[in-house]
């Protein structure tokens, strides 16, 4: 492999992850990795297992077998707090915000600023929230309304700000642009570039190739719980990747690039012939 990133150690590796739900193998022996300053897309149809895989990394599920290695050391991630302790932050598809709380309260949920008596320091939190959100979205004004009163883009801003505020090193974004308009999608793109320059590793989960193709350095494609292959974005076209998503096999001219843990082309074909 002649990858410039490979000279650094990966931020996170997931090795040979398996998880089943009632006999259904949702993730079946998948390995992926992520390097600092890299944006990696995880692609696949609904039900391909990509969200399940990522939830294992963020602590929402626990793998039946497999290893998670953070900074070269094996990490035990049993819940969201463990993930956070490893500087892994997740922004969920369903925008995991408490609708009845305002922006600042959501930003600091679980990690509130308190004064010397242990009481919540709402003014300090609002101050910090204004600072962070202003950088993300200068038009953000509704600091005192519950987030249920915000638009999809504004809510996404709050969710991203939440991750930023706590110095995530690995940022997992589930369908980051699903709820956003054109302008806001562009904004998120710029933001991702900025985070990348800061040395974060970003995993983008999407079923829509167009959302992530231009943002990603590499792509992991999944189908039926297995990894179809890992490719560098510069080596492939949209059609190549679509083929991987839909047919579940590596394009012939890229077979030599199939990453570690990828199912080989024949295996994937077998997988599809079952259907």
């Amino acid at each position: 492999m002649t990858d410039p990133n490979m000279t650094k150690d990966p931020l996170v590796e997931m090795q040979d992850i398996h998880i089943s739900f009632g006999g259904v193998k949702a993730v079946d022996g998948v390995s992926i990795d992520l390097y600092p300053g890299e944006v990696v897309g995880v692609l696949g149809h609904n039900g391909a297992g990509k969200s399940t895989l990522i939830k294992i990394l963020s602590g929402a599920y626990q793998a039946d077998t497999g290893k998670i290695i953070v900074d070269g050391k094996e990490a035990k991630i049993e819940n969201a707090r463990d993930a956070r302790d490893n500087n892994i932050e997740t922004i969920y598809q369903n925008l995991a915000l408490a609708d009845n709380l305002d922006a600042a309260q959501n930003l600091f949920l679980g990690r509130e600023i308190t004064d010397k008596f242990g009481f919540l320091d709402d003014a300090a939190m609002e101050h910090k929230a204004r600072e962070v959100l202003h950088r993300l979205n200068p038009n953000f004004k509704k600091f005192t309304s519950p987030v249920s009163a915000l638009s999809g883009g504004q809510r996404q801003s709050v969710a991203i700000a939440r991750a930023l505020l706590f110095e995530a090193r690995v940022l997992i974004m589930d369908e980051p642009c699903a709820a956003l308009g054109v302008h806001e999608t562009k904004m998120v793109g710029e933001l991702i570039d900025q985070l990348k320059r800061d040395g974060l590793g970003i995993l983008l989960i999407s079923h829509d190739l167009h959302d992530v193709f231009d943002l990603s350095d590499r792509l992991h494609v999944m189908k039926n719980g297995k990894l179809v292959g890992s490719v560098r974005t510069e080596d492939v076209t949209h059609d190549d990747v679509l083929g991987m998503i839909i047919l579940g096999k590596m394009p012939e001219h890229l077979l030599h690039l199939a990453g570690p843990g990828a199912t080989n082309a024949t295996g994937a074909v077998n997988g599809t012939t079952h259907r």
């Binding site: 963020s58 929402a60 819940n79 969201a80 707090r81 956070r84 997740t90 969920y92 369903n94 995991a96 915000l97 408490a98 609708d99 009845n100 709380l101 309260q105 959501n106 949920l109 679980g110 990690r111 509130e112 308190t114 242990g118 009481f119 919540l120 709402d122 003014a123 300090a124 609002e126 101050h127 309304s145 009163a149």
Partner: protein
């Protein structure tokens, strides 16, 4: 009008509730020929509301976290029995009758057992995943049955002389002078809180309310405290009781000396204390913030690292503690503990909370709303009793009011709430 309220940052629901309460009071006053809005009736109303009001404060948190507690009346019953036995049968083995420590130890036992009962139910809901409705429905039967078991159904009386002061009554008040002192402390606290809040916001250059709104808010709050205390101080002890009190103190019985004010009843003081502590907990502590976060989106709360199961246990345990305080107030008021004490209180408490604007869907609710809700319920009941309405008709009216109150709250909220606000 509505713009004026939003400038003053006043909760519209609160204004609506206050108006409803005022209509009820004025209505009963007219219907009863001026017997409703009197110092005496207001005093009695405050004492009668206290037990339900204390539990309603805890029920707000339970309902905000999307749970329910149907067992509070039964828990109150069993705790009143336990506290009754502790002070009449158990403690007298070690302490003299009416020893000043008796009521403290008794209340402490009640609070510990209450917390334990609440925790057991909380574990069943949080860790075992049984719906709160079922756990506490079972609890209602279990604890009511246990209440009978404590003494095989025997009513416990007489209770400790100091303990019964917790229930109000002629001696269970703090008197005129202390009432004025409490009022003064309250008003100073209101002013201090307003100034500190404004300073804090200004120090971060946040937008603040116009200064006239600050003044109006503060003056209204302070004025209410003054009116309440003045009213309670205007209710004098009955002549007989006053004579006895003067004789005990060796003061000559003259017509001026006989005018002894009740002042703030102790149960009202307890309600105020509980409400203030819980309001601070809700607004200014992690605990309160997490309660609301869980109610708004349990999944988000879990993902934010909040231990939802442990919080569930804590909220139910708190409810148990408040049941103990309510049990003390209501058994002290009756000066006896019977095993049917608190029957149907769960419904009164839930009704008060819901009338007070707490959403059964979770995530929304206020302590002060629940207090006014409790006052609305008790005012209806007392007012109808004053007019000589039969108890059967009283139930019908209160039942209808509950449904209408929730409907109108939903209707007006949908209609007048500004989605962009």
């Amino acid at each position: 009008m509505s713009r004026l309220l939003s400038k003053m940052e006043v909760d519209r629901r609160l204004v609506g509730l206050a108006v409803v309460l005022l209509i009820i009071w004025v209505g009963f006053d007219i219907a009863s020929g001026g017997r409703f809005i009197t110092p005496r009736n207001i005093f009695n109303l405050s004492v009668q509301t206290a037990s339900v009001a204390v539990m309603a404060c805890g029920m707000v948190l339970i309902i905000v976290t999307r749970h329910i507690d149907l067992s509070v009346g039964a828990v109150l019953g069993v705790l009143a029995m336990i506290m009754g036995v502790v002070q009449t049968d158990f403690l007298p083995q070690f302490l003299d009758y009416n020893h000043p420590l008796t009521w403290v130890l008794t209340l402490l036992v009640g609070i510990v057992v209450g917390a334990l009962i609440g925790s057991i139910q909380g574990v069943a809901v949080g860790y075992l995943g049984v719906p709160a409705f079922i756990v506490t429905l079972g609890g209602l039967l279990v604890w009511r049955g246990s209440a009978w078991w404590v003494t095989q159904g025997r009513t416990v009386a007489p209770l400790d002389q100091n303990y019964i002061l917790l229930g109000g009554g002629i001696e269970g008040t703090i008197g005129a002078t202390w009432s004025w002192i409490v009022a003064l402390i309250g008003i100073l606290a209101i002013i201090y809180a307003a100034i500190m809040e404004r300073r804090r916001r200004l120090s971060f250059e946040f937008p603040v309310k116009p200064i006239w709104a600050e003044y109006t808010n503060t003056i209204i709050k302070a004025g209410l405290v003054l009116i309440v205390v003045a009213t309670l101080n205007a209710y004098h002890l009955p002549t007989r009781a006053a004579e006895r009190l003067l004789e005990n103190k060796g003061i000559p019985v003259t017509p001026e000396n006989l005018e002894i004010a009740h002042g703030i009843p102790i149960p009202l003081l307890i309600v105020a204390l509980v409400a203030i502590i819980l309001t601070i907990a809700v607004k200014r502590s992690r605990f309160g913030r997490y309660v609301f976060a869980i109610g708004g989106n349990p999944q988000a709360a879990e993902l934010a690292g909040i231990n939802v199961k442990r919080m569930t246990v804590a909220v139910f345990a708190l409810m148990g503690v408040l049941c103990a305080i309510s049990a003390a107030i209501s058994s002290a008021r009756l000066q006896s503990a019977g095993n049917d004490l608190g029957t149907l209180d769960e419904l009164r408490v839930i009704a008060a909370v819901v009338i007070g604007g707490t959403s059964l869907a979770g995530g929304l609710g206020t302590i002060y709303g629940a207090l006014i809700g409790a006052l609305v319920m008790q005012s209806l009941q007392s007012g109808m009793a004053l007019l000589g309405v039969d108890t059967s008709l009283q139930s019908i009216v209160i039942g209808l009011v509950l449904v209408v109150a929730v409907f109108s709250d939903k209707y007006f909220h949908r209609r007048y709430s500004d989605p962009t606000a």
